[in-house]
Symmetry: C2
Subunit: 422 residues, 2 copies
């Protein structure tokens, strides 16, 4: 595949002087040109008082014109609504916080409903005093606030076999990034008193699947949270109301929802969810297990198949998300020619451990086709691999932990498509 593309990053000065715009078609219209625009010259219906206050909507919903910014399922991926995956519309969002309303969720046996009053959390196993906490009990322990991403191990999983799903929402939307409030798990474990033989915790939820997972005690005592708020308010039902586990940097299925029980054990339980699922089958048929950490990864969210360029050539904002389960994002590179040349993108804010970063590359698009890629770096020195590099190591049998560089083919008409290049 040969890509001929000449482009340059529009400098700040170009934007400030309007030179970029002038060179490639003006971004804004002059007032003289806009003189006949009835949206300016005529009085609009909204320029009169309306009785439509917020009293009718104590909890405000997105405006009707944004009805496409919603979670979506891929029907052929899940056979029923009991076990479903709902993808975040990352192609339509900006910044780093994911609103709960459209934050991805995956459950194994339904999104259950439980009152706070009915909530119980048991800590048992190798502890001095097995304990049962009510929701009100949890509210009495010192709390912390942290912004963390939660990514499903299967995010981008369909792409092992080729470029299959045509949109960032579907290739990379099994992720969200929220500000959690909760009690450190170590506080509760220490309240019960961990016996010296205790080396693991086994965590399970109150839903039918129970979704039991083993977590090494070292992690459990490090940064795991027993969380009851996300982005300031109570968890949504589908995110585990009233209490879920937050396991920073580790795969989403360990973030057990409707958290019911934590058993301190001397070894891993090797449950269904960590043997038949959530292991990575290699080329020789053996499986990697305990692949908990989500490696550094990134994706361009716009332009992308669901977010084509509609304005033609000239100034263009390329933007996307980057994250790493091992640390903070330190840098993101963007290529418009399929990885031949890279430009360092601008981060919206300094990277933070376990949290998503937003990146931007502001270019002056010449209207020629692009093969858009992004490449994340984290503070351990890890660099996001290409699809070829990843397949060389892991083969083609995997479902989980695909963190390869994604390519969008952007045509000169601005439409984009999921492609592979090699």
């Amino acid at each position: 595949m040969t890509v001929s593309f000449k482009n340059g990053k529009a400098s700040r000065r170009q934007f400030l002087t309007g030179a970029a715009a002038a060179g490639a078609g003006t971004v804004a219209a002059s007032v003289a040109k806009a003189a006949g625009d009835p949206l300016i010259t005529e009085k609009q219906v909204w320029a009169q008082a309306t009785g439509d206050g917020v009293d009718a909507t104590p909890y405000g919903l997105p405006i009707e014109f944004e009805s496409d910014v919603v979670r979506r399922n891929v029907e052929w991926l899940t056979a029923d609504t009991i076990s479903s995956i709902n993808f975040t519309p990352i192609h339509a969002l900006d910044g780093t916080i994911t609103p709960q309303g459209c934050a991805f969720e995956r459950h194994h046996s339904g999104a259950i409903e439980m009152r706070k009053e009915d909530y119980r959390l048991m800590i048992n196993g190798l502890v001095d005093t097995p304990l049962v906490f009510t929701y009100e009990d949890l509210e009495r322990f010192p709390r912390e606030n942290h912004v963390y991403f939660c990514e499903c191990a299967a995010n981008t999983g369909m792409e092992w076999a080729g470029a299959q799903l045509n949109g960032a929402q579907f290739t990379h939307g099994m992720i969200h990034n929220m500000e959690y409030t909760g009690v450190p798990l170590r506080t509760l474990l220490n309240e019960a008193g961990i016996q010296t033989e205790g080396k693991w915790v086994y965590v399970e939820g109150a839903d039918a699947s129970s979704n039991g997972r083993s977590i090494p005690l070292e992690k459990a005592l490090d940064d795991v949270l027993v969380a009851f708020k996300a982005n300031g308010e109570a968890l949504r039902k589908e995110h585990g109301y009233p209490v879920r586990l937050v396991v920073p940097g580790w795969e989403g299925n360990m973030w057990v929802k409707w958290l019911r029980r934590i058993e301190v054990t001397n070894q891993a339980v090797e449950s269904r969810e960590e043997t038949s699922k959530y292991t990575d089958t290699l080329a020789d048929g053996t499986s990697r297990k305990w692949t908990w950490v989500m490696d550094a990864k990134s994706v361009v969210t716009s332009p992308s198949p669901q977010a084509p360029i509609k304005h033609g050539k000239g100034p263009l904002v390329i933007t996307g998300l980057a994250w790493s389960g091992r640390g903070a994002i330190t840098r993101v590179d963007v290529s418009i020619d399929g990885g031949k040349n890279w430009q360092e993108a601008r981060l919206g804010a300094p990277g933070s451990k376990g949290a998503m970063s937003r990146f931007y590359l502001d270019i002056n698009w010449d209207g020629q086709e692009m093969f858009l890629q992004s490449r994340a770096h984290d503070d351990t020195g890890y660099v996001q691999p290409t699809k070829t590099q990843l397949r060389d190591v892991r083969g083609l049998n995997s479902i989980y932990h695909n963190n390869c560089i994604q390519t969008w083919w952007v045509r000169s008409n601005g439409e984009a498509e999921n492609v592979e290049i090699s």
Copy 2:
């Protein structure tokens, strides 16, 4: 008023060893004690698969059990729903991010509905080239992400006259804190080219009130954003969809919604909204004007009148919010005896300029009445004043800019009330 109260901050070690809990009544029940609890011993209805996936709710709403966590109005404050104030339920939130759905909003002539396609922003006045931007045009300029609080100048305004409104939602809820994505206003102004005589901008919205306000050019070129996303997604209708102004640290009425026009002028316009309103009448009848910046302020959100203590004595989390329009919050002190003694609270994260901070003080409550106060410090060295100090300087005629220390009288039964002490 004499307050006799002996209390100590529960140390980390006390919590970790359970000593705090043991000394004041156990927080969690032992498994032995909980043996008869049917919520543990019986199979629950939610422990069976449910078909209630998220496919039916592409945009997830709060669970029905949280229906009290909503915006509320104070009927006697506003006569109709055209001009309304809807207060954030800060007493029920945690962390720092305010979800858009329950984020306060105030409008002067209705929350209008406008399609992105119908959006126009004009920059005119003392510029080289008057320009008109469409929504799509704005999306082509380099964007920034920042978390900022937006506080109404009248927040806490009813408290000038005494302790009037019984709840943090009503005394301090005209505020929210969100992650904004937008284009710096200076980028757009420079695109039009500011003439040397230009010293101010006059900004107005597309609603009937137009809510015009004058902003000094120095601020307009500093950190003001033309924003189109909050917490990642499009603005809610009532927050100015599709585009609002973000004026960090300055009073909320300058954050013009449904932003329509920005005129560069050589002097302030002295509009209705900055003369008949939003000036501060002093004791001698003269008025302070151009009181744009919101001074450092804080409030305990829990316990508070709407969030009483239900669990009795023992470990108690005291939490609240602090913010400053002049810089970052560096410290918050909490008093449980009406300001006689102060303890430094723990910040949930280091303070950030123009953004809210969450604070916590973890105590072992002895069950005696408390007079709860919080006191914010910012990085300019400013310290939040008492009500008496504020009245000494500003008199009793003001409506706006009341940033005094708030007092909640917490009775031994855990109920709390808005009181004044002197």
